[in-house]
Protein backbone atom coordinates (compact mmCIF):
# COMPACT_ATOMS: atom_id res chain seq x y z
CA UNK A 1 0.00 0.00 0.00
CA UNK A 2 2.81 2.36 0.98
CA UNK A 3 4.65 1.47 -2.26
CA UNK A 4 1.58 2.21 -4.34
CA UNK A 5 1.20 5.50 -2.55
CA UNK A 6 4.81 6.50 -3.13
CA UNK A 7 4.61 5.42 -6.81
CA UNK A 8 1.48 7.42 -7.28
CA UNK A 9 3.32 10.38 -5.81
CA UNK A 10 6.27 10.11 -8.28
CA UNK A 11 4.32 9.32 -11.45
CA UNK A 12 0.78 10.51 -11.59
CA UNK A 13 -1.67 7.80 -12.72
CA UNK A 14 -2.45 9.56 -15.94
CA UNK A 15 1.24 9.33 -16.99
CA UNK A 16 1.71 5.67 -16.12
CA UNK A 17 1.77 4.81 -19.85
CA UNK A 18 5.09 6.73 -20.18
CA UNK A 19 7.02 4.62 -17.68
CA UNK A 20 7.94 1.83 -20.12
CA UNK A 21 9.14 4.07 -23.02
CA UNK A 22 11.21 6.27 -20.67
CA UNK A 23 12.83 3.31 -18.89
CA UNK A 24 13.50 1.60 -22.26
CA UNK A 25 15.12 4.74 -23.68
CA UNK A 26 17.28 5.31 -20.59
CA UNK A 27 18.24 1.60 -20.48
CA UNK A 28 19.15 1.68 -24.15
CA UNK A 29 21.31 4.73 -23.70
CA UNK A 30 23.08 3.16 -20.71
CA UNK A 31 23.66 -0.14 -22.56
CA UNK A 32 24.87 1.75 -25.65
CA UNK A 33 27.31 3.74 -23.54
CA UNK A 34 28.65 0.60 -21.83
CA UNK A 35 28.94 -1.32 -25.12
CA UNK A 36 30.55 1.68 -26.79
CA UNK A 37 33.09 2.14 -24.04
CA UNK A 38 34.04 -1.55 -23.83
CA UNK A 39 34.00 -2.02 -27.60
CA UNK A 40 36.02 1.12 -28.28
CA UNK A 41 38.55 0.14 -25.61
CA UNK A 42 39.00 -3.36 -26.99
CA UNK A 43 39.21 -2.27 -30.61
CA UNK A 44 41.65 0.54 -29.74
CA UNK A 45 43.79 -1.93 -27.83
CA UNK A 46 43.77 -4.32 -30.79
CA UNK A 47 44.56 -1.50 -33.23
CA UNK A 48 47.53 -0.35 -31.20
CA UNK A 49 48.72 -3.97 -30.92
CA UNK A 50 48.42 -4.36 -34.71
CA UNK A 51 50.28 -1.10 -35.26
CA UNK A 52 53.06 -2.16 -32.91
CA UNK A 53 53.30 -5.63 -34.51
CA UNK A 54 53.43 -4.14 -38.00
CA UNK A 55 56.18 -1.76 -36.94
CA UNK A 56 58.14 -4.63 -35.35
CA UNK A 57 57.65 -6.78 -38.44
CA UNK A 58 58.94 -3.99 -40.70
CA UNK A 59 62.04 -3.65 -38.52
CA UNK A 60 62.57 -7.41 -38.33
CA UNK A 61 62.07 -7.84 -42.08
CA UNK A 62 64.66 -5.14 -42.76
CA UNK A 63 67.01 -6.73 -40.24
CA UNK A 64 66.54 -10.18 -41.76
CA UNK A 65 67.20 -8.94 -45.29
CA UNK A 66 70.29 -6.98 -44.18
CA UNK A 67 71.68 -10.02 -42.36
CA UNK A 68 70.95 -12.34 -45.30
CA UNK A 69 72.59 -9.87 -47.66
CA UNK A 70 75.82 -9.55 -45.69
CA UNK A 71 75.94 -13.14 -44.41
CA UNK A 72 78.56 -14.42 -46.87
CA UNK A 73 80.94 -11.45 -46.87
CA UNK A 74 80.90 -10.52 -43.20
CA UNK A 75 82.13 -13.84 -41.92
CA UNK A 76 85.11 -13.74 -44.30
CA UNK A 77 86.02 -10.17 -43.42
CA UNK A 78 85.63 -10.37 -39.68
CA UNK A 79 88.78 -12.47 -39.23
CA UNK A 80 91.01 -9.95 -41.00
CA UNK A 81 89.48 -7.01 -39.16
CA UNK A 82 89.72 -8.62 -35.74
CA UNK A 83 93.33 -9.51 -36.51
CA UNK A 84 94.01 -5.82 -37.25
CA UNK A 85 92.54 -4.79 -33.90
CA UNK A 86 92.37 -7.84 -31.63
CA UNK A 87 90.88 -8.19 -28.17
CA UNK A 88 94.14 -9.02 -26.42
CA UNK A 89 97.68 -7.75 -26.45
CA UNK A 90 99.08 -8.49 -29.93
CA UNK A 91 102.72 -7.67 -29.08
CA UNK A 92 103.94 -11.20 -29.81
CA UNK A 93 102.26 -11.23 -33.21
CA UNK A 94 103.68 -7.76 -33.90
CA UNK A 95 107.19 -9.01 -33.10
CA UNK A 96 106.65 -11.96 -35.42
CA UNK A 97 105.43 -9.62 -38.16
CA UNK A 98 108.44 -7.32 -37.63
CA UNK A 99 110.80 -10.25 -37.96
CA UNK A 100 109.10 -11.40 -41.15
CA UNK A 101 109.20 -7.93 -42.71
CA UNK A 102 112.84 -7.42 -41.64
CA UNK A 103 113.71 -10.69 -43.37
CA UNK A 104 112.03 -9.52 -46.58
CA UNK A 105 114.02 -6.26 -46.56
CA UNK A 106 117.29 -7.90 -45.45
CA UNK A 107 117.40 -6.05 -42.16
CA UNK A 108 118.89 -7.31 -38.94
CA UNK A 109 116.51 -6.95 -36.06
CA UNK A 110 117.64 -7.11 -32.43
CA UNK A 111 117.13 -5.73 -28.93
CA UNK A 112 113.39 -6.27 -29.18
CA UNK A 113 111.58 -5.26 -26.02
CA UNK A 114 107.92 -4.94 -25.24
CA UNK A 115 106.90 -2.32 -22.73
CA UNK A 116 103.88 -2.37 -20.47
CA UNK A 117 100.33 -1.71 -21.39
CA UNK A 118 98.91 1.77 -21.48
CA UNK A 119 95.75 3.52 -22.59
CA UNK A 120 95.90 5.41 -25.85
CA UNK A 121 92.89 6.80 -27.76
CA UNK A 122 90.51 4.87 -25.48
CA UNK A 123 92.27 1.66 -26.44
CA UNK A 124 94.89 -0.49 -24.83
CA UNK A 125 98.33 -0.09 -26.28
CA UNK A 126 101.71 -1.79 -25.90
CA UNK A 127 104.98 -0.41 -27.18
CA UNK A 128 107.50 -2.55 -29.04
CA UNK A 129 111.03 -1.16 -29.21
CA UNK A 130 113.69 -2.60 -31.50
CA UNK A 131 116.98 -1.88 -33.21
CA UNK A 132 117.55 -2.54 -36.85
CA UNK A 133 120.70 -2.53 -38.97
CA UNK A 134 121.12 -2.42 -42.72
CA UNK A 135 121.33 -0.31 -45.81
CA UNK A 136 119.81 3.17 -45.30
CA UNK A 137 117.54 3.13 -48.35
CA UNK A 138 116.31 -0.36 -47.55
CA UNK A 139 115.79 0.67 -43.95
CA UNK A 140 113.61 3.63 -44.89
CA UNK A 141 111.56 1.37 -47.18
CA UNK A 142 111.26 -1.16 -44.35
CA UNK A 143 110.08 1.57 -41.99
CA UNK A 144 107.47 2.89 -44.40
CA UNK A 145 106.02 -0.60 -44.68
CA UNK A 146 105.65 -1.12 -40.94
CA UNK A 147 102.21 0.43 -41.00
CA UNK A 148 101.05 -1.99 -43.66
CA UNK A 149 101.21 -4.79 -41.11
CA UNK A 150 98.31 -6.33 -39.27
CA UNK A 151 97.78 -5.95 -36.25
CA UNK A 152 97.80 -2.18 -36.71
CA UNK A 153 101.03 -0.56 -35.54
CA UNK A 154 101.94 3.09 -35.40
CA UNK A 155 105.53 4.27 -35.41
CA UNK A 156 106.12 6.57 -32.46
CA UNK A 157 109.80 7.45 -32.70
CA UNK A 158 112.67 6.63 -35.02
CA UNK A 159 116.32 7.43 -34.50
CA UNK A 160 118.79 6.71 -37.28
CA UNK A 161 122.56 6.99 -37.23
CA UNK A 162 124.83 6.07 -40.11
CA UNK A 163 128.45 5.06 -40.08
CA UNK A 164 130.45 3.39 -42.83
CA UNK A 165 127.38 3.10 -45.06
CA UNK A 166 125.60 0.99 -42.49
CA UNK A 167 122.59 2.55 -40.88
CA UNK A 168 121.38 1.64 -37.43
CA UNK A 169 117.95 2.63 -36.27
CA UNK A 170 116.16 2.48 -32.98
CA UNK A 171 112.44 2.48 -33.42
CA UNK A 172 109.45 2.44 -31.18
CA UNK A 173 106.10 1.24 -32.48
CA UNK A 174 102.78 1.01 -30.69
CA UNK A 175 100.28 -1.79 -31.18
CA UNK A 176 96.68 -1.64 -30.05
CA UNK A 177 93.88 -3.84 -28.85
CA UNK A 178 90.41 -3.38 -27.53
CA UNK A 179 87.91 -5.68 -25.82
CA UNK A 180 85.11 -7.04 -27.96
CA UNK A 181 81.62 -5.73 -27.32
CA UNK A 182 79.92 -7.90 -24.73
CA UNK A 183 76.28 -7.23 -25.52
CA UNK A 184 74.30 -7.60 -28.68
CA UNK A 185 71.42 -5.16 -29.16
CA UNK A 186 67.90 -6.54 -28.61
CA UNK A 187 66.51 -8.71 -31.40
CA UNK A 188 63.96 -6.04 -32.33
CA UNK A 189 66.64 -3.37 -32.60
CA UNK A 190 67.52 -2.51 -36.19
CA UNK A 191 70.89 -3.55 -37.55
CA UNK A 192 72.72 -1.18 -39.83
CA UNK A 193 74.71 -2.12 -42.87
CA UNK A 194 78.23 -0.75 -43.04
CA UNK A 195 78.34 2.85 -44.22
CA UNK A 196 80.40 3.98 -47.21
CA UNK A 197 83.00 5.38 -44.80
CA UNK A 198 83.18 2.10 -42.88
CA UNK A 199 83.52 0.12 -46.14
CA UNK A 200 86.38 2.42 -47.16
CA UNK A 201 88.12 1.85 -43.83
CA UNK A 202 87.48 -1.87 -44.03
CA UNK A 203 89.09 -2.06 -47.48
CA UNK A 204 92.06 -0.22 -46.03
CA UNK A 205 92.24 -2.75 -43.19
CA UNK A 206 91.84 -5.71 -45.56
CA UNK A 207 94.95 -4.55 -47.41
CA UNK A 208 97.07 -4.92 -44.28
CA UNK A 209 99.39 -7.89 -44.32
CA UNK A 210 98.00 -10.50 -41.96
CA UNK A 211 100.37 -12.90 -40.19
CA UNK A 212 100.68 -16.44 -41.43
CA UNK A 213 99.90 -19.06 -38.87
CA UNK A 214 100.80 -22.66 -39.43
CA UNK A 215 99.02 -25.55 -37.85
CA UNK A 216 101.09 -28.64 -37.35
CA UNK A 217 98.92 -31.65 -37.91
CA UNK A 218 99.59 -34.44 -35.43
CA UNK A 219 100.92 -37.63 -37.00
CA UNK A 220 99.66 -41.04 -35.96
CA UNK A 221 102.01 -43.16 -33.78
CA UNK A 222 104.32 -45.44 -35.71
CA UNK A 223 105.25 -48.93 -34.67
CA UNK A 224 108.68 -49.05 -33.07
CA UNK A 225 111.04 -51.55 -34.62
CA UNK A 226 112.35 -54.20 -32.23
CA UNK A 227 116.13 -53.56 -32.23
CA UNK A 228 116.85 -57.11 -30.89
CA UNK A 229 114.92 -58.94 -33.52
CA UNK A 230 116.16 -57.40 -36.77
Amino acid sequence: MALMLSKSRIVPTKYNFMTTPVISAIGLIIVALIVGQIGYGKISEQNSQIKSLKSDITKLTTKESVLQKVEENVENQVDSVTMALPDSNPAIIVVSQLRGLAGEWMMLLDNITVSGESKDKQMNAATVNFDVDGDLTMMLSFMTRLETLSPIVKIQTLKISTSDEIARATASVRSYWSEYPTKLPAISEPVNELTEKQIGLMNQILQLKIPQFYTITPSSPVERADPFNL
Binding site: E75, L158, P185
Partner: protein, 176 residues
Protein backbone atom coordinates in the same frame (compact mmCIF):
# COMPACT_ATOMS: atom_id res chain seq x y z
CA UNK B 1 -20.08 3.83 -33.62
CA UNK B 2 -17.42 6.35 -32.53
CA UNK B 3 -15.41 5.57 -29.34
CA UNK B 4 -16.58 7.23 -26.26
CA UNK B 5 -14.09 8.51 -23.69
CA UNK B 6 -15.59 7.87 -20.34
CA UNK B 7 -12.57 9.17 -18.38
CA UNK B 8 -12.92 12.47 -16.67
CA UNK B 9 -11.03 15.19 -18.59
CA UNK B 10 -8.69 15.88 -15.60
CA UNK B 11 -7.44 12.25 -15.76
CA UNK B 12 -6.66 12.27 -19.53
CA UNK B 13 -2.88 12.69 -20.38
CA UNK B 14 -1.81 15.76 -22.32
CA UNK B 15 -1.16 15.54 -26.07
CA UNK B 16 2.52 16.45 -25.60
CA UNK B 17 2.99 13.52 -23.21
CA UNK B 18 1.39 11.12 -25.68
CA UNK B 19 3.66 12.40 -28.49
CA UNK B 20 6.73 12.12 -26.24
CA UNK B 21 5.82 8.54 -25.35
CA UNK B 22 5.40 7.72 -29.04
CA UNK B 23 8.79 9.29 -29.82
CA UNK B 24 10.49 7.40 -26.99
CA UNK B 25 9.02 4.11 -28.22
CA UNK B 26 10.29 4.72 -31.76
CA UNK B 27 13.66 5.90 -30.40
CA UNK B 28 13.99 2.77 -28.26
CA UNK B 29 13.12 0.42 -31.13
CA UNK B 30 15.44 2.19 -33.62
CA UNK B 31 18.17 2.49 -31.00
CA UNK B 32 17.89 -1.19 -30.18
CA UNK B 33 18.27 -2.12 -33.86
CA UNK B 34 21.24 0.23 -34.23
CA UNK B 35 22.79 -1.14 -31.04
CA UNK B 36 22.40 -4.74 -32.23
CA UNK B 37 23.96 -3.83 -35.59
CA UNK B 38 26.78 -1.99 -33.79
CA UNK B 39 27.40 -4.96 -31.48
CA UNK B 40 27.53 -7.32 -34.45
CA UNK B 41 29.83 -4.89 -36.27
CA UNK B 42 32.10 -4.61 -33.27
CA UNK B 43 32.11 -8.40 -32.93
CA UNK B 44 33.11 -8.82 -36.58
CA UNK B 45 35.80 -6.14 -36.26
CA UNK B 46 37.08 -7.74 -33.06
CA UNK B 47 37.21 -11.14 -34.77
CA UNK B 48 39.03 -9.86 -37.87
CA UNK B 49 41.46 -7.90 -35.70
CA UNK B 50 42.10 -11.02 -33.61
CA UNK B 51 42.83 -12.98 -36.79
CA UNK B 52 45.16 -10.26 -38.01
CA UNK B 53 46.96 -10.17 -34.66
CA UNK B 54 47.34 -13.94 -34.78
CA UNK B 55 48.81 -13.80 -38.30
CA UNK B 56 51.11 -10.91 -37.44
CA UNK B 57 52.29 -12.66 -34.27
CA UNK B 58 53.05 -15.79 -36.28
CA UNK B 59 54.94 -13.70 -38.84
CA UNK B 60 56.87 -11.96 -36.06
CA UNK B 61 57.78 -15.30 -34.47
CA UNK B 62 58.97 -16.64 -37.82
CA UNK B 63 61.12 -13.54 -38.36
CA UNK B 64 62.56 -13.75 -34.86
CA UNK B 65 63.46 -17.39 -35.42
CA UNK B 66 65.04 -16.54 -38.75
CA UNK B 67 67.06 -13.71 -37.16
CA UNK B 68 68.09 -16.01 -34.30
CA UNK B 69 69.45 -18.45 -36.88
CA UNK B 70 71.47 -15.54 -38.32
CA UNK B 71 72.85 -14.61 -34.90
CA UNK B 72 76.42 -15.48 -35.91
CA UNK B 73 76.16 -13.07 -38.83
CA UNK B 74 74.65 -10.41 -36.61
CA UNK B 75 77.46 -10.83 -34.09
CA UNK B 76 80.04 -10.66 -36.86
CA UNK B 77 78.48 -7.53 -38.36
CA UNK B 78 78.29 -5.87 -34.97
CA UNK B 79 81.87 -6.82 -34.20
CA UNK B 80 83.01 -5.70 -37.65
CA UNK B 81 81.36 -2.32 -37.21
CA UNK B 82 82.86 -1.91 -33.73
CA UNK B 83 86.38 -2.85 -34.91
CA UNK B 84 86.20 -0.64 -38.02
CA UNK B 85 85.09 2.39 -36.01
CA UNK B 86 87.90 1.91 -33.50
CA UNK B 87 90.54 1.04 -36.10
CA UNK B 88 89.40 4.02 -38.20
CA UNK B 89 90.62 6.38 -35.49
CA UNK B 90 94.02 4.70 -35.52
CA UNK B 91 94.33 4.67 -39.30
CA UNK B 92 93.42 8.35 -39.51
CA UNK B 93 96.02 9.16 -36.89
CA UNK B 94 98.84 11.22 -38.29
CA UNK B 95 101.87 9.15 -37.33
CA UNK B 96 105.46 9.69 -38.41
CA UNK B 97 105.09 7.20 -41.24
CA UNK B 98 104.43 10.08 -43.65
CA UNK B 99 107.62 11.80 -42.52
CA UNK B 100 109.60 8.61 -43.09
CA UNK B 101 107.90 8.14 -46.46
CA UNK B 102 108.78 11.70 -47.52
CA UNK B 103 112.38 11.19 -46.40
CA UNK B 104 112.52 7.85 -48.23
CA UNK B 105 111.30 9.50 -51.46
CA UNK B 106 113.87 12.29 -51.26
CA UNK B 107 116.79 10.03 -50.36
CA UNK B 108 115.86 7.46 -53.02
CA UNK B 109 115.67 10.16 -55.71
CA UNK B 110 119.32 11.11 -55.24
CA UNK B 111 121.15 7.85 -54.55
CA UNK B 112 124.67 8.25 -53.24
CA UNK B 113 124.53 12.03 -53.17
CA UNK B 114 122.53 12.37 -49.98
CA UNK B 115 123.31 10.44 -46.80
CA UNK B 116 121.63 10.70 -43.44
CA UNK B 117 124.20 10.86 -40.68
CA UNK B 118 121.69 11.21 -37.88
CA UNK B 119 117.93 11.41 -37.70
CA UNK B 120 115.55 11.80 -34.82
CA UNK B 121 111.95 11.57 -35.94
CA UNK B 122 109.04 11.73 -33.55
CA UNK B 123 105.40 12.74 -33.73
CA UNK B 124 106.35 16.26 -32.66
CA UNK B 125 109.29 17.08 -34.89
CA UNK B 126 111.97 15.75 -37.21
CA UNK B 127 115.59 16.61 -36.67
CA UNK B 128 117.93 15.34 -39.35
CA UNK B 129 121.64 15.74 -40.07
CA UNK B 130 122.65 14.98 -43.62
CA UNK B 131 125.63 15.04 -45.89
CA UNK B 132 125.02 16.18 -49.44
CA UNK B 133 127.72 15.36 -51.97
CA UNK B 134 126.99 18.53 -53.94
CA UNK B 135 124.87 21.65 -53.84
CA UNK B 136 122.35 20.09 -56.22
CA UNK B 137 121.60 17.30 -53.72
CA UNK B 138 121.30 19.88 -50.94
CA UNK B 139 118.84 22.02 -52.87
CA UNK B 140 116.94 18.93 -53.99
CA UNK B 141 116.47 17.89 -50.38
CA UNK B 142 115.32 21.32 -49.27
CA UNK B 143 112.99 21.61 -52.27
CA UNK B 144 111.54 18.19 -51.43
CA UNK B 145 110.83 19.23 -47.83
CA UNK B 146 109.33 22.56 -48.80
CA UNK B 147 107.20 21.21 -51.63
CA UNK B 148 105.57 18.54 -49.47
CA UNK B 149 103.45 21.31 -47.83
CA UNK B 150 103.28 19.10 -44.79
CA UNK B 151 105.66 21.11 -42.68
CA UNK B 152 104.79 24.49 -41.27
CA UNK B 153 108.12 25.11 -39.57
CA UNK B 154 111.40 24.35 -41.32
CA UNK B 155 114.59 25.43 -39.62
CA UNK B 156 118.05 25.02 -41.15
CA UNK B 157 120.12 24.71 -38.00
CA UNK B 158 123.65 24.23 -39.31
CA UNK B 159 125.29 24.28 -42.70
CA UNK B 160 128.99 23.70 -43.36
CA UNK B 161 131.10 22.61 -46.26
CA UNK B 162 133.90 20.05 -46.19
CA UNK B 163 135.80 19.49 -49.48
CA UNK B 164 136.17 15.77 -48.65
CA UNK B 165 132.49 15.04 -47.95
CA UNK B 166 130.48 17.94 -49.31
CA UNK B 167 127.73 19.92 -47.59
CA UNK B 168 126.95 18.89 -44.03
CA UNK B 169 123.76 20.34 -42.66
CA UNK B 170 121.15 19.72 -40.03
CA UNK B 171 117.53 20.65 -40.38
CA UNK B 172 114.55 20.63 -38.08
CA UNK B 173 110.97 20.65 -39.26
CA UNK B 174 107.58 19.90 -37.85
CA UNK B 175 104.25 19.08 -39.37
CA UNK B 176 101.23 21.39 -39.46
Amino acid sequence: MSPVNLLPTELAPSNKAVKLAEFLKKFSITGLVVLIVAIVGLGVLFYTNSLEIKNLTAQETRLKNSISSLEVTEKSLYLLSDRIDKAGGLLADNSIQKDIGALDTIISSSPGNLVISDADISTKKCEISLVAANSAALSQFLAGILSSERYSHVLLKTLSFNPNYGYMFSIQYSAN
